[in-house]
Point group: C2
Chain length 242, copies 2
């Protein structure tokens, strides 16, 4: 849950939202609103659940059994464009960062993929979801991206729907000019691991009819930087930044 100077507290709740709806709070949310922020009865916070848009929630009861009541929708549900972000998990802090950035940048689905050179630390789905929620509260999103369990890159490609284009960002392309081309519609972005793709993976990716190799400039970008840069190019060309 996040509060910036200028705006209301914004909370994700896994509960239906609608006019007059009473919304119970988790223990953590109650603690934050009433002990940390010291909100009184009658105070207004922003609520979203990923399905019903954003609502004003008025504090009806404070304290341990605190509850809010929905009073008016402030924004409709606006799902992000149909963009998946696939990335090879890296060290924990940087994986957390990639997940946070995927939400801010507007990915619809977050897919950890295991590549030949992935140094796979365990990826915890529950932790990723917690980061997704925190980032969505912070960035004003009204929808949450889907978060997948890690899966092998080869398996993902085996089952690929060829109508979804795949933008892949490859260290081996450093120094080559190659801009993003293609058209709107469903896309995925694939960020390679820090050791790069294996030769076998690279050959396979380059041979896929739906794959678009893209260069991200002459320097080697860390995975989380590449993720933000690639999503920027895509959102600016085809997504909801237009």
């Amino acid at each position: 849950m996040v509060c910036s100077m200028a705006s209301k507290v914004r909370l994700f709740v896994d509960h239906p939202l609608g006019q007059g709806q009473t919304v119970p709070l988790s223990q953590g949310q109650g603690h934050y609103l009433f002990n940390v922020m010291r909100l009184p009865v009658g105070a207004v916070v922003s609520l979203f659940n990923g399905r019903d848009g954003e609502w004003d929630g008025v504090v009806a009861q404070a304290g341990k059994r605190g509850a809010l009541v929905c009073e008016g929708q402030t924004r409709p549900l606006v799902p992000p464009p149909d963009l998946w972000l696939m990335f090879a998990p890296v060290k924990k802090a940087r994986t957390d960062f990639i997940v946070e950035k995927a939400v801010e940048m507007g990915a619809a689905r977050i897919m950890p993929v295991l590549t030949d050179f992935t140094n796979a630390e365990r990826v915890r789905g529950d932790k990723m979801l917690a980061h997704v929620i925190e980032a969505a509260e912070q960035c004003g999103a009204t929808a949450l991206p889907v978060v997948d369990e890690p899966v092998k890159l080869g398996r993902v490609l085996d089952g690929w729907d060829p109508t979804r284009r795949l933008m892949f960002c490859d260290e081996a392309m450093i120094g080559q000019a190659s801009a993003l081309s293609g058209d709107r519609g469903p896309w995925a972005i694939l960020i390679g691991p820090e050791g790069g793709f294996s030769d076998g993976e690279r050959d396979r990716l380059r041979g896929l009819p739906f794959a678009h190799p893209v260069s991200l400039g002459p320097r080697i970008l860390r995975a989380e930087t590449a993720a933000v840069a690639a999503m920027t190019l895509w959102q600016n060309a085809f997504g909801d930044w237009r």
Copy 2:
């Protein structure tokens, strides 16, 4: 200093580089090369000093008094384009991140600016420089950006050379479409603080003939995300990604 699976260790040294030149190592560098990486005499590492390009350095002596000898330039000096990144310092970890990203993305100058809503933790120039060096070693840059001491935004604008364009990214523009326009030449990017600009700052910025307000999509981006996204748009339009 950074070593990835596929590449040589890469070291920044503050020492002239040229054919046959002997290069002494700092204690930390010697420890890393000979105790951590266990490099023997004759091993080759990559050296750069921000002025003379990138050179192969051969281990001439290992251990405490270890030294390298330059044997051939591997890349010329390639300075980044004339892009400044100005940002309001945020919490320490995120400030470190912005500095790291500025190097990876190819900024020529990194300028912490204090705005009306900057919650100014102390910014330590020596720490910023250490992050710059580490990022340059990692991303393969041959030049280091200049790192300024923090200065007030108003003072920076008072002394502005109007031939340098200023792209500013403002939370207040969320939801408005405004693409990057302009032309090549010197530019600066200004990333606002997480509380946004003050009304006074915003009025002043909007009135500047060299200022280009740019929207970074419909979600609120954290400062470090905005920095990478803005540099991506610029590099892709005017910089060395073309």
